[in-house]
């Protein structure tokens, strides 16, 4: 059978065939691996891949899996069972597409007012969490159409703190 997976934003097909009681043959692209595995606990497997032993650890991560091997982390999604992810995804630049705190925080300062023109990456709100301050930035060029918070407000991921009307003609990607 085939698994259609995604790793580092890249789709990959993994073909799997049981060759005997102990061994499974996996093919990824032009590479072939003979694997024997044993499960040690809910998260921990020991695999022998083409004769070489390795410990791997698998944990949940939203709809995908978080895989740890020798200190390296990998996020693997199953394209056949994607699950729902309503959270706004980060773009390649790492800037989320709304002005929202990454974790429960308190508003420390508001740097803009309705009517201000802002450019992508410009600081608009400062929030404080775990005693550290973070500046949230405008995800695109535009004009501030509304500020929904005041200094001292408690805010959560998902709350939109500053509404920014996108400048026409810029950054034409559809949301």
């Amino acid at each position: 059978m085939d698994y259609h997976l995604k790793i580092n934003e890249e789709p990959v097909t993994v073909s799997v065939k049981k060759t005997d009681d102990q061994t499974t043959r996996l093919t990824i692209g032009d590479r072939v691996y003979d694997v024997a595995g044993s499960r040690l606990d809910r998260h921990h497997l020991h695999l022998r891949v083409n004769g070489k032993g390795v410990h791997v650890f698998v944990g949940p991560n939203g709809s995908g899996k978080h895989i740890v091997i020798q200190g390296g982390h990998h996020l693997v999604d199953d394209l056949d069972h994607p699950g729902l992810s309503g959270r706004s995804r980060k773009k390649a630049t790492g800037i989320p597409d709304t002005v929202t705190p990454p974790m429960p925080s308190v508003v420390a300062a508001v740097l803009v007012a309705p009517g201000d023109t802002v450019s992508k990456g410009q600081g608009v709100v400062v929030v404080s969490a775990m005693k550290m301050e973070t500046t949230l930035v405008a995800p695109y060029d535009g004009t501030v159409t509304g500020v929904t918070v005041a200094v001292g407000d408690k805010v959560n991921p998902g709350d939109v703190l500053v509404d920014i009307g996108r400048e026409a003609g810029m950054d034409g990607a559809v949301e």
């Binding site: 595995g37 497997l45 650890f57 005693k131």
Partner: protein, 495 residues
């Protein structure tokens, strides 16, 4: 000797302190907030007292509740750990008034050293070299600007009530001063309840080298060598080691003597750390005294073989410190990595949540001071420290290899950690070469992204996990699985 010690802290340090108490046959009391009812430190203690809501001010900073808990349980001493109330002179004074021994310096000493400006003045008088800068607090931007011109840019704005890297801003040019000032004051207000700041000369290329001291009540003071804490991010230490690659034996002796002079000038008792800045020409300047046990104290314990918490308890109980300076020597090399629930790919934002699974590294020369267990929550309300991983080996090169191996063996699922980042830092030529300054991370790892090694292995792991998982009736994604088209089509037939 104390019969019962209340540990006024949480997480890994609370567990570590209780560990020594158990060795000494002293009963332990944990205090906890609503967010920590199942926390590891609570489960490690003989008794536990709920002291308030999750916000630190309601619980771990709530002096009344903590003193009540001590009285209620009949504790004869309180160990404050680090952070929270450990350098709160009012709290130390309250303990003194209630006849509960505060395991640390006298309240008066905490008071004078806690104000960074007073501390600088004491040191200046005591003949300890201090960094060029202000020796009075400032709340006025214009005054600050004048002083900054006098000292000469670049300068550092620092909170006078501060510590732990909070309320610090580097200013390289005059136009940046106003915003940096406002931001530093806000952070200082929030972290310490006091927005007063002062200025120091900023050295672009500098090392942060600190000396551990121990002083008993009878005036005997020794130093326990240095720790190099130059690997920092946003003024917060992330990797510490001893010995420092910059110190020669004679420089070590000079700095040690300076640290002892600093301790005497302040009338210090118990364990403390004197922090210095070391410039490339090997001049050193007093930075501050941390009047408490520090996060990175295990580094010193590994090279000296001493238990600093045990010495703290002994000194607080009135015992004489038997250690002689000539008997103190470091053996081998130790390195510590701080493991926080932080996302190294997202500017190290805290990554709170449920820590699904943890598998700690072990082996010769490997120590992990851990504050969590599989299934516990890492709450949003506190510093997200998971553990401190310390290794010790014969040489620095071997210690680096041992740390890399330990990091690769360390598995944490459910929250993000900087483990992959730490591995890259330790394997870098720059770190191995020992040319370490406080701008190390900024210079060598400004926009770190994880490597792409083991990609096929990860896919194989996913597939083998799927094949060996116990069959389930539903995918546990927490949402309705998207139905396959032919499940919803109903019956139909090709014409």
């Amino acid at each position: 000797m104390f019969k019962k010690i209340l540990v006024a802290n949480r997480g890994e340090i609370a567990r570590r302190i209780m560990s020594t108490c158990r060795e000494m046959g002293i009963a332990t009391v944990a205090v906890y907030s609503d967010a920590d009812s199942r926390a590891a430190h609570v489960l490690s203690a003989d008794e536990a007292v709920l002291i308030g809501g999750p916000e630190p001010s309601a619980s771990y900073l709530n002096m009344d509740a903590i003193i009540d808990a001590a009285r209620q349980t009949g504790s004869d001493a309180i160990h404050p750990g680090y952070g929270f109330l450990s350098e709160n002179a009012d709290f130390a004074r309250r303990c003194e008034q209630e006849s509960i021994t505060f395991i640390g310096p006298p309240s008066q000493v905490i008071q004078s050293l806690g104000d960074k400006i007073t501390a600088r003045t004491i040191m200046e008088k005591g003949g300890v070299p201090i960094a060029p800068g202000m020796t009075r607090p400032c709340r006025d931007l214009d005054e600050l600007a004048t002083e900054a011109e006098k000292i000469g840019y670049p300068i550092l704005i620092k909170a006078s009530a501060g510590g732990g890297g909070k309320g610090i801003r580097v200013v390289r040019q005059p136009p940046d001063l106003a915003e940096a000032f406002a931001s530093a004051v806000r952070e200082a207000e929030s972290a310490f309840g006091d927005g007063a700041v002062y200025l120091e000369k900023y050295f672009e290329t500098v090392r942060h080298v600190e000396i551990q001291i121990l002083a008993d009540r009878f005036g005997h003071v020794v130093h326990l060598l240095e720790r190099d804490c130059s690997i920092q991010r946003r003024h917060q230490k992330i990797i510490e080691e001893s010995p420092s690659t910059a110190l020669t034996p004679s420089l070590r002796t000079l700095m040690g003597e300076s640290a002892i002079a600093a301790a005497r000038a302040a009338g210090y008792v118990n364990a403390g750390t004197v922090e210095f800045l070391l410039t490339p020409d090997l001049s050193f300047y007093f930075l501050e005294v941390n009047a408490r046990l520090q996060v990175e104290h295990p580094v010193t314990e590994m090279i000296t073989g001493l238990d600093l918490v045990r010495h703290q308890i002994d000194i607080a109980a009135g015992r004489k410190l038997e250690l002689k300076q000539e008997d103190i020597a470091g053996q081998g090399h130790a390195i510590e990595c701080r493991i926080y629930a932080e996302d190294p790919e997202n500017d190290f934002f805290p990554s709170p949540g449920t820590l699904e699974y943890i598998r700690e590294p072990s082996g010769p020369g490997i120590r992990n001071d851990c504050g969590v267990y599989s299934g516990v929550d890492v709450p949003v309300y506190y510093d997200p420290i998971i553990s401190k991983l310390i290794v010790h080996d014969q040489t620095r090169d071997q210690a680096i290899e041992r740390m890399v191996k330990a990091l690769k063996d360390y598995v944490i699922l459910g929250v993000k950690t900087p483990i992959p980042f730490m591995i890259d830092v330790l394997e870098s030529e720059a770190f191995k070469g020992g040319e370490i300054f406080t701008h190390f991370i900024r210079t060598h790892f400004p926009d770190w992204k994880p490597g792409e090694k083991n990609r096929d292995l990860a896919l194989i792991a996913w597939a083998m996990n799927e094949l060996t998982e116990k069959p389930r009736t539903h995918q546990n994604t927490g949402a309705n699985p998207i139905p396959e088209p032919w499940e919803t089509l109903g019956s139909w037939r090709l014409a």
